[in-house]
């Protein structure tokens, strides 16, 4: 009998310890934001687009301030000089061969950016997850050798791109290692997997991510930050339409 009482007390104590140690979903998302949000970023990226067994590679240089201003210039031979400028929820594209700047709007926003699985609309979203979703911690598990918190996010705004998301957040580094993105109907639309994280200064940052479209066979986009500088001073002139066409 003593042994049973001891076992129950031990279990209760362990549970209490876990409950005390387990952060809330809001705390986890805040920690993720701390890691992944930046005041400014400058990077050189490499994008691999795979569709139907064929892979295309695109490279780019980009600079961004917060989530509202971004400037991307493609450097691979086929798209050299193609530039994007994001200002809030508006997006412009510059075509060097035609020397023309076009605003991406309407149904074009649903198209994949440069043929990738990331739509222009997704690229324009700037609200944080905590603003768009209610989150609950569903548990803790191992994911590809890392301990992760499993979070279920349910859209609290009907304008959120996805009705539900399942996130797996590294329980020690607080980086999102995977995200399953669901439609309102419950259908899985996209999967995002973080393939590599790197310690930059004091924060862990995802530097290689793969996104796959679950409505197409063999359709995925991997994005790698080849070089990255966080929180560096950026010339605000970079984010003007006049600079885009220069």
């Amino acid at each position: 009998m003593k042994r049973i009482i001891f076992a129950v007390l031990a279990a209760v104590a362990a549970f209490a310890a876990f409950a005390q140690a387990a952060p809330t979903a809001a705390e986890i998302l805040a920690r993720v934001d701390e890691n992944e949000k930046f005041s400014s970023i400058e990077y050189e990226g490499r994008m691999e687009l795979t569709l139907g067994g064929k892979t295309r590679v695109k490279t780019m240089k980009a600079v961004a301030v917060g989530a509202d201003k971004a400037y991307i210039e493609f450097t691979n031979p086929e798209d050299r000089g193609v530039r994007y400028l994001k200002l809030g929820d508006e997006l412009w594209m510059y075509f060097p061969k035609e020397d023309d700047t076009v605003k991406i709007s309407g149904h074009l926003l649903r198209e994949g950016m440069m043929g990738s699985d990331v739509s222009y609309e997704e690229a324009l979203e700037s609200d944080s997850l905590a603003e768009l979703y209610d989150a609950v911690v569903k548990g803790r598990e191992d994911y590809e050798g890392r301990p992760v918190w499993v979070l279920e996010l349910t859209a609290k705004k009907s304008s959120a791109s996805y009705a539900r998301q399942i996130l797996r957040v590294d329980a020690e580094r607080y980086v999102t290692l995977s995200a399953d993105l669901y439609a309102k109907s419950g259908k899985l639309l996209k999967e995002s997997r973080t393939l590599e994280v790197r310690l930059i200064g004091t924060r862990w940052y995802p530097v290689k991510v793969e996104l796959s479209d679950k409505l197409r066979k063999d359709s995925r986009t991997s994005f790698e930050l080849v070089s990255i500088k966080l929180d560096v001073p950026v010339d605000p002139k970079r984010f003007t339409l006049s600079e885009l066409g220069k």
């Binding site: 709007s105 309407g106 649903r110 009907s158 959120a160 259908k187």
Partner: protein
């Protein structure tokens, strides 16, 4: 003059083969001209009919906000009271009305995905305005056995390897802006004359779209039909009148007739018709050259005869008149035959048409606004028949004058010695 006409008639009848050759040249020239005009008018009618039947309707009512951003098919601007507009449209002579909400979607068979121009439609009333229901080539028009039913363009379905009864995933953004995707069963495919419908058209009922897109009763466009008019110009004018009547009653809305919606095409049509007149002029000139040549040959073949006539005392101006009359008679016979031939060709074009599907269906030929299926019909153009006939007679007159003048100038002795 009476004697000259008698001689001319006798000569025309005497030289049957020559008369026949000249007449046939004229007949073909004028007949082809008349048929060409009918065919061009028919092509215009067919293109506009295709737009009316599958996209523009005779007139379309939207909110001004929707019109400004129409290319993006936004789900932000609806019609507040479509029932009132429908009632007014029917009172203004519309023969049918239906509601539609366009949205951009993506269709996936889990292997491939294609962008589609999708519409939420009312299956019960769509057929009173559009020809989609009549274009079903396989399956059944929204039988209502499943909650999520979809009708697809024939080529779109073929490209995704889909048949009637297959399930497909339709994805799109809801009205508030969230991604959604759901499975729909293909209940029918449509082989529409409008290539855009066949290539990328996807249609779901309002019943299914309401939940899928969270429409909350949103109707972005109201489409209106008119009874079929006898001619294209009348059809355009009647559509304009209907739109004007609705604009007067609902000034806060955007009401556009097919003439407004197809303004670019119609402007192009005007340019095209100018170009086609040039082409037809070329056809007639070729015919004219043929006539001149045939009559010239007739004069040279009869130089000795001219010498004899002059030797018997006929004056030079009489010879000129004789050959001119002969030319005009031959021209009139040929022009009449040409007008009749053109009438027959036009009648065939109007009644039976030319099947276009065999030429373009699987060839992937870009025919612009021209439909890819069915037959291309002609239109009656009475003015072209009159123009063709008059042109034939006038050209024959001018063509006969030149050799006739030459014949009149010949010396009697030269004419008699002419080999």
């Amino acid at each position: 003059m009476g004697t000259l006409w008698k001689i001319a008639f006798r000569n025309v009848l005497r030289h049957k083969r020559r008369t026949a050759i000249t007449g046939v040249v004229l007949m073909f020239g004028i007949g082809v001209y008349i048929m060409f005009g009918s065919m061009l008018a028919g092509m215009d009618r067919m293109s506009i009919d295709s737009m009316v039947d599958y996209s523009t309707a005779s007139a379309k009512v939207t909110s001004p906000g929707y019109l400004e951003t129409m290319s993006g098919t936004p789900l932000d601007f609806g019609l507040d009271n479509p029932a009132a507009i429908e009632k007014a449209a029917l009172a203004s002579g519309a023969s049918g009305t239906t509601r539609r909400t366009a949205f951009v979607g993506q269709l996936s068979n889990y292997v491939d995905a294609l962008p589609v121009m999708a519409f939420a439609i009312d299956p019960a009333t769509d057929g009173t305005v559009f020809a989609l229901e009549r274009a079903v080539d396989a399956g059944e028009w929204f039988p209502g056995r499943e909650a999520n039913e979809i009708v697809l363009g024939r080529k779109l379905a073929a490209e995704l390897g889909l048949s009637v009864g297959d399930w497909v995933v339709l994805s799109g953004r809801t009205r508030p802006g969230a991604e959604n995707a759901d499975e729909f069963v293909v209940v029918a495919t449509v082989d529409a004359a409008d290539p855009q419908v066949s290539n990328s058209g996807a249609y779901v009922s309002y019943g299914a779209a309401e939940g899928f897109l969270e429409l909350d009763g949103l109707v972005t466009e109201l489409d209106l039909a008119l009874p079929r008019a006898a001619t294209l110009d009348r059809a355009l004018d009647e559509a304009d009148a209907l739109a004007a009547a609705l604009r007067a009653e609902f000034p806060e809305l955007s009401t556009r007739s097919v003439k407004d919606q197809a303004a670019d095409y119609l402007a192009m049509r005007n340019m095209k018709s100018k170009f086609s007149y040039v082409m037809m002029l070329v056809v007639l000139l070729i015919g004219g050259v043929g006539i001149v040549n045939t009559i010239l040959m007739a004069v040279y073949a009869r130089v000795k005869e001219i010498g004899v006539l002059r030797a018997y005392g006929m004056l030079g101006r009489d010879v000129k008149s004789l050959f001119t009359i002969e030319g005009v008679i031959v021209g009139a016979i040929g022009s009449l035959a040409g007008a009749l031939f053109g009438l027959a060709l036009t009648w065939y074009m109007v009644e039976y048409g030319i099947p276009v599907g065999v030429f373009f269906q699987d060839g992937g030929l870009d025919m612009g606004n021209l439909p890819l299926t069915g037959s291309m019909y002609g239109e009656w153009k009475p003015l072209d028949i009159v123009v063709g006939f008059v042109f034939g007679v006038v050209v024959s007159f001018i063509a006969a004058r030149i050799p006739a003048r030459r014949a009149a100038r010949l010396e009697v002795t030269d004419a008699l010695r002419f080999v």
